[in-house]
Symmetry: C2
Subunit: 356 residues, 2 copies
């Protein structure tokens, strides 16, 4: 039997978690956040080209497992991601992810890749990209509420893309804040550990909330608001998990990634179904205004949308090919004559396996 | 930094396509089809325990890519699968698939596995399982229309689970029929190559259609029907792709896997939204009758449901652990302190990478 596979078309490139970390460290974290932000911008500018749907979510008492697909005429991408706040007791991260990029014209998976670390990068890149149009241009001070696994990436993305130079930090676990301050030593960011949320928020131009509890919490209430503030609400991202009080949302102009999904998962799940929101792609494309004046309060109600992962997968695929990273695997069966799946079993020489 | 990972909980078992073929050949194809059928029966008997949804499908002119998730309180499973009828010109199979089984309580992926070959086994197992209750008990002769990659598995499943001993074969490509007859030499099945569909169907107790064209075709029309016939319609499985004429459906008692999905994808997409169907799990559970009398015409309008893949993944996972097959991979990032994703980059020693 002769193989009829075209070289290079029938194998999947695999980047396991260590390979992804090496790729990002090697290319430079700063460069990767910027590169993913550029990929997101480019993809969001052609928003109507994509087939979009709210992600599918499987809930259980301990957490959620989600599948996030998106496609255009050329590529299909999806991410598998979980959210299990109690995972630390098993020594596992609360969020773990992997993704696949596939060719639409054949269905062949081109790339299989850990997305645990890239999810943090793309979330931070998306947040900062939105803040460029939604925060005041003179923003320099950011409150960062929740200093867990994602927080350093938010800090660096806002430093590089928005011009933040000072962080006001708070976490219910002081050890998390100490970890963040240790990790960002040498980053050029001035950092202050604060005793509470109100103290951290006071005087901040931007407030980023990235907390993990799976419940309706009020991290930011309306008495903490100041005119001109931008709120980057990242942690309210599934039904029953919110961070902002309804009064904060009512006082603000609210921007979202993909409205049908955010109405299910975002902080606006607390608001009526016709609560007005603007999709951020329209702002990036110049079709809708972002911030309109210096006193306006803006909220980016971010839940994470499949297109951001598609952009991250595109970026990682190009970076891996450039640097020869990863290894080729046989993720799907393509060997031998594609019309003869049965032959791939190699049973011909062992008729006893087949006979009744 | 000390690893806090529990041994065995943070790695994913990976079975690539050759490992899956070896596992199935080693265990025996017959044993695997029977084992998967038993797993499907066990899971379908606890149908209400599962969170179910129609699969998500991304269509393009050349084909479709689908994600098929399902979960119960313990396990989450999903399959990635494509259908691209023109793939042979790229030397690729028309259908390729892989799947993941994950733990609900942590979201950790336990198994990543090629499902190209297992998809053929589980489809055949499901068809035969349904036919046990839907075909006449004295069925011995099966027409097999479409002799492509899936056909041998259908033939063997019906031999072993239903008692078929004679096949009447037809394919628009005579080479496909020759391939099937060659592959099933020594199987004990009597085989006849027929000149057309009508000839193949004449005298058959069961008619299995497993054709691949992505269009509305009429493989079986009502003039071919005989009293007491069972039709196992496998190839009509996405919008615009059907195999049976509406008159065949109107004349028959129709059974499906999961009605909300089959009304979109199955042959019954041609019928009104309230066309009566019975979900096969109710027949397996004894809550609804299957075949009611010897003259009844029955149709199993099979499109393939996520739970069948979940059952196949369960079977393969157990078989792999039993035989020590596959290898462990770091599919998702779990190394190091799960609260400190940033540290996994190993940037501490290279502050230049972080500084602005």
């Amino acid at each position: 039997m002769q193989s009829t596979i075209h070289a290079g078309s029938a194998r999947t490139l695999f980047l396991d978690a260590p390979a992804v970390a090496r790729l990002i460290a090697g290319k430079g974290l700063q460069q990767c956040i910027a590169g993913i932000a550029e990929a997101i911008r480019a993809d969001f500018l052609r928003w109507p080209d994509f087939v979009k749907s709210p992600r599918s979510a499987s809930h259980c008492p301990q957490g959620v497992i989600e599948l996030m697909p998106v496609s255009d005429a050329t590529l299909f991408g999806f991410k598998y991601v979980n959210g299990h706040p109690g995972n630390l007791r098993f020594g596992l991260p609360t969020v773990m992810a992997f993704g696949v990029l596939a060719e639409m014209k054949t269905g062949m998976p081109l790339l299989l890749c850990d997305l645990t670390l890239p999810t943090a990068l793309r979330t931070a890149a998306m947040s900062a990209l939105a803040a460029v149009d939604l925060a005041r241009k003179d923003s320099r001070v950011m409150a960062l509420i929740g200093n867990g696994a994602q927080s350093e990436f938010q800090a660096l993305a806002f430093r590089d893309l928005v011009g933040i130079d000072e962080l006001r930090l708070y976490d219910i676990d002081p050890a998390a804040t100490r970890k963040l301050m240790r990790n960002l030593e040498g980053s050029g960011l001035r950092m202050h550990a604060c005793a509470g949320i109100a103290e951290a928020v006071r005087g901040a131009d931007i407030v980023t909330t990235v907390t993990a509890d799976k419940r309706n919490a009020t991290i930011v209430s309306d008495d903490m608001l100041a005119p001109g503030m931008h709120i980057n609400a990242v942690g309210g991202d599934c039904p029953g998990k919110t961070e902002l009080s309804p009064a904060v949302l009512a006082a603000a102009s609210v921007f979202v990634e993909y409205a049908p999904q955010t109405r299910i998962e975002g902080d606006i799940q607390q608001m009526p179904a016709d609560f007005p929101v603007t999709e951020i792609w329209q702002v990036l494309a110049g079709a809708q205004p972002g911030r309109r004046h210096d006193k306006e309060i803006t909220v980016f109600d971010s839940v994470g949308f499949a297109l951001e992962d598609y952009s991250a997968l595109r970026f990682l695929h190009a970076a891996a090919l450039e640097t020869d990273a990863g290894e080729e695997i046989s993720l799907v069966g393509t060997a031998g004559d594609p019309r003869d799946l049965f032959a791939s079993l190699g049973l011909a020489a062992r008729p006893g396996l087949v006979a009744a």
